[in-house]
Amino acid sequence: MSFRENAKIIKTGCLGIGVYEIWFETSDIAKAAKPGQFISVYSADGSRLLPRPISICAIVDNKLRIVYRTVGAGTKEFSSMKEGESLSIQGPLGNGYDVNATYASKDAIIFGGGIGIPPMLELAKQLNCKKQIVLGYKDELFLNEEFEKYGTVTIATEDGSCGTKGNVLDAVKAHNIKGDVIYACGPMPMLRAIKAYALENNIECYISLEEKMACGIGACLACVCKSKDIDDHSKVHNKRVCKEGPVFNAKEVEI
């Protein structure tokens, strides 16, 4: 079940250069939300009609947190909003991570890359197992300290300014990090590398994909990704990121 709400902003903040957070007070959305799901955020400016999909970063009672990077006009608009104002949001959308699945009790490696890091925070909080958390940044860190209470955090930065110089897999190698199930969200090259790594090492692997969206609820077929098998809903090799995803078993999608 998902909902459309005009949600009150109860807190905003800036977490780094171009990285912002908003806390919403919701009637129903937060209560229904799972880690890995997302919300559609709508612009108040009539020239921008499509929703901006943003992952849920934290769920606390009826409160929802998003952390996002300013990319274009939509996210810039959101970053100018203030406490007390409202935004139209819809959700929770997508499948999210299943923290009650059998595999979810295995030793986990949680990978987050760049602006793919925020959704992993609520996942790390809700997973009830041994957690290795590997976060990859370009340079400036954000959210990393908040992960520490949920597991062992390892950092990789492209410029080497903190942790391992390189990407998250470089950090895995450098620290000999091991696990039996992988959860990952981040840029496509990172996801491809992680998928390959998981296959090689025969580790179960769940990844979160992105695609441009129009409806965000599975009706328009804008946001498909290629699936290995014929999908049950589409009857072709396409799965909807907004509905069957954004979280996929890495084996079932071609990336």
């Binding site: 009539g46 129009a214 498909v224 072709v236 509905k243």
Partner: protein, 305 residues
């Protein structure tokens, strides 16, 4: 549903719709996903996403791009094929007290005929033939940009169809009345317009097209004035009823189409911005009628000459 003191029901080719509001094909799936937000019983009809005789994979992604006051799409008519559609989507819709308009696509005349034949025995109310999709290589718009081929497809599907036929017209033509007259001559029971305007967006940073298909169909409030103009022109050129669409996001928008001559209207892209748009449009038309002492929606259909 509140007791209606005004008559909003309309009739097209013998089918009675409880109100003149449906959805534009492709923007509402088969209603399943939207049924979480909208009581489908409230709608005059559900018009389903284009379906073909066999499953189509559609185009590569990105399939859409936002534009100023609208969007471009090049979904490429991905659909699960009629077999799945008839056993999954139609039974779902039959649970609701609303009419069903099935939008049909094809790559050749034979495809259309095959699909229409298969649909003839199905419990659906009308068929809408999409000869105006700009996003597929074969078929689609090619049929919708030449009067002769539009007429030919129309008579071909009319010959095999047991359901009333709506022909869906492309706005990417010099003279829309010529196309409307052609499908009327071919035997169409109604016309729907407009499909999308062919458009393009360039991603200047990546120096490539914003949608993988290069071009796509422009829809949304941005195109409404073109749609209203064409509905008005067609209303004054043919005698078959019109289902008007293109940028409708409010009751005021819908009333523009109705006054220009549309018997029914469809909400498309606006569903993406607000899934409750259809209901707002229905309620808004109703209160406009009450406020202005209009007893029957027919009183204002085509009232602006």
């Amino acid at each position: 549903m509140p007791a209606e003191s005004v008559n909003m029901s309309v009739n097209i080719a013998g089918v009675t719709f409880k109100n003149p509001v449906t959805v534009a094909s492709g923007t509402f799936g088969s209603g399943m996903e939207y049924s979480e937000y909208v009581d489908l019983n409230r709608l005059g009809a559900v018009t389903t996403k284009g379906v073909a005789n066999v499953p189509w994979p559609g185009n590569p992604t990105p399939r859409i791009a936002e534009t100023y006051g609208g969007m471009i799409n090049a979904i490429g008519l991905q659909n699960p094929g009629l077999d799945t559609f008839l056993t999954r989507d139609i039974p779902f819709l039959k649970k609701y007290d609303t009419k069903i308009i099935v939008n049909v696509c094809g790559k050749s005349k034979e495809d259309y005929i095959d699909a229409v034949e298969k649909l003839s025995e199905a419990p659906v109310d009308m068929l809408e033939i999409n000869i105006s999709c700009p996003n597929v290589k074969e078929g689609g718009i090619a049929f919708g940009q030449r009067a002769e081929s539009a007429m030919e497809i129309t008579s071909a599907v009319k010959k095999v169809s047991k359901k009333p036929i709506i022909m869906k017209l492309s706005p990417n033509v010099t003279d829309i009345t010529e196309m409307a007259k052609a499908v009327e001559a071919g035997g169409a029971d109604a016309v729907s317009l407009i499909n999308t305007l062919t458009g393009m967006k360039i991603d200047i940073n990546r120096r490539t097209f914003a949608v993988a298909n290069k071009t796509g169909g422009l829809s949304g409030p941005a195109i409404k004035p073109v749609a209203v103009r064409m509905v008005y022109q067609v209303a004054n050129a043919v005698n078959i009823p019109i289902i008007g669409m293109g940028g409708i996001a409010s009751a005021e928008d819908a009333l523009e189409f109705i006054m220009a001559g549309a018997t029914m209207v469809a909400v498309g892209t606006a569903n993406f911005n607000d899934p409750m748009t259809t209901i707002k449009v229905i309620e808004g038309i109703q209160s406009f009628m009450k406020k202005n002492g209009i007893k029957d929606i027919a009183e204002i259909t085509g009232c602006v000459k």
